[in-house]
Symmetry: C2
Subunit: 383 residues, 2 copies
Amino acid sequence: MRKVAVIGLGQTRFGQLWERGLTSLSVEAGVKAVRDAGISQKDVEVLYGGTMSGGLFANQEHLASKIPDYSGFKNIPSVRVEAACASGGLALRQAYLDIASGEHDIAVAGGVEKMTDLGNYSVTKVLATAADTDSEGIFGATFPGLYAMMAKLHMHKYGTTEEQMAAVAVKNHKNAMTNKYAQFRKEITVRDVMESTLISDPIKLLDASPITDGGAAVVLASEEKARELSDTPVWIAGSGHATDSISLHDREDILTLKATVEAAKKAYEQAKLTPEDIQVAEVHDCFTIAELLALEDLGFVEKGSSGRFTEEGQTMVGGKIPVNTSGGLKAKGHPVGATGIAQAIEAVKQLRGEAGNSTGAEIALTHNVGGSGGTAVVHIFRR
Amino acid sequence: MRKVAVIGLGQTRFGQLWERGLTSLSVEAGVKAVRDAGISQKDVEVLYGGTMSGGLFANQEHLASKIPDYSGFKNIPSVRVEAACASGGLALRQAYLDIASGEHDIAVAGGVEKMTDLGNYSVTKVLATAADTDSEGIFGATFPGLYAMMAKLHMHKYGTTEEQMAAVAVKNHKNAMTNKYAQFRKEITVRDVMESTLISDPIKLLDASPITDGGAAVVLASEEKARELSDTPVWIAGSGHATDSISLHDREDILTLKATVEAAKKAYEQAKLTPEDIQVAEVHDCFTIAELLALEDLGFVEKGSSGRFTEEGQTMVGGKIPVNTSGGLKAKGHPVGATGIAQAIEAVKQLRGEAGNSTGAEIALTHNVGGSGGTAVVHIFRR
């Protein structure tokens, strides 16, 4: 397997973009990434794109044909992948494998979702198709409800508090102040979170990531091409991907996302690194409890201690391991198919020294989850 | 890139299976393929699955997690790919690339679609999301309508007749008589086709493939594993994939599927073969005109001569190149995400000498199309 680098980054603004459609978001992100790489559309040999539900959200499947067509990548092989909210991370991984294998030399990996402006469906109903329709969705389970069960058990078992969860949201909103693409650039307090509308006890409105439109793309290149085209290549040092039971009730322990544990293990092994080596991380904070679980499952802290660790400020810029310096899903926004790529963009910016919240890191990790943990994709990047 | 073989085959019956759901179809196909390969579920290292629209057809996305979970492949990396009706062929290709690259040694590539028993949507409306929603679907274009335009122009330009198109359906129904998994096992005549209900002039009901539920899966293995596990490995000698504009009006020539031409070119080059070397082929006959176009775009006949070639019986078993010996999409059925895998199953059966319509072939080709030609995937198999 060959070495692979990220050599170009592109993203749209994240937010409720009522005037924008799925296609225009995709094209903007892809073309920006191509320009950032200093190449042109005709240099792109293959496209991997992640979208959770073009069908239900935007009445458009077959994006594998439509996006390269509209982006000026006509006739190239193009693959849409889907693993719910991990679709973007999965697109990155599949593009990485493609180039690592020697099949192609230059790829675009993108992600997009258009979640506002729906017709017949509610967003919550569409997102519920990432859970098990037969054993969860049909009984009315929603993602706030599923994550609320994890949060309640974490509180019961480890003494985690609602204020500790709120600290995740407060940090991520603060981080988003430096990210010009973020949906929310507004600081909030623990009290704001605690007093926000209750969604599914103990999850409140400000514990939850928002509904977002947005697109993101990166250009990947083989070692030879990366050294030829880029002065600032960022290398993919490790890539791991695993699945778990789609439904919560089928897991041995609902407080451990086994998919995260397994995906991280593979990525650490490939990169020959341990959790202690990671200097900055973008993790999947679809709800504040999800960031706490990620800190544990990625090996940054002992199981059960993530709440205290966060409250102490150890995941803030300047702390032991800065997490979600981009603002995370919570404040940057969570256009589900684009999220995994947007995480990679922040990681690469950190390593290039171009991030708003610069940490000077040389090793970064990204962690993208589908559903309540049915899929996880972990990548490790090095300068 | 390493050599890759198909070592196991599994499929469900194709048809209107009112008592079956998406998951049970997937599991049946996958488990049968694993058994046919003589391995067990725990030997499967990675899964690639093709489905056009789990969301719109079955209210279930995130099959990348659900299917390995329910199939006993728990925790493995699993990727859902989508390229409309070419989703199955694309799953095969991505699994092939994964093993060829050295990432894994044993993969399942599957495809599934549950198209009957819909709630809010009509099947035609869901299928229309494979065309360009912005420039085709929104104006009411349906796939019978799009292919009817191609058929009309082929008739006008080359003198192709409705009877010649009907001959495709007659042949494929005859072929399906030997396929116990086929949806229609009933011979028809040219007169039956000509007298069937007009759908979109000149396409009549019996020129069109049906709405079908079904699943199909194959087990792929690296050369080392294939030689260890199988006495009848069938090798993937060539794999090609290309895209084209999603909408018909953006093409230079609507009678040439450029995606097919490009994908075939790559597959022939990789296999070091020419169209003359292919001894049996499964091509994408979603409508009878589509089989005629495929014969031309794959290089089996000169542009414009496919109607006469078919009428002469050259694509029947015993003819110059037997096409769709399984019954094709027309008579075997067309569960869109499963079709590309079902084509591979027929190709492998032909090379193993296990096909109902045995041709004794040693080289076979499969050709899977998404939309009106926005995606094409071509594979060449050798004994």
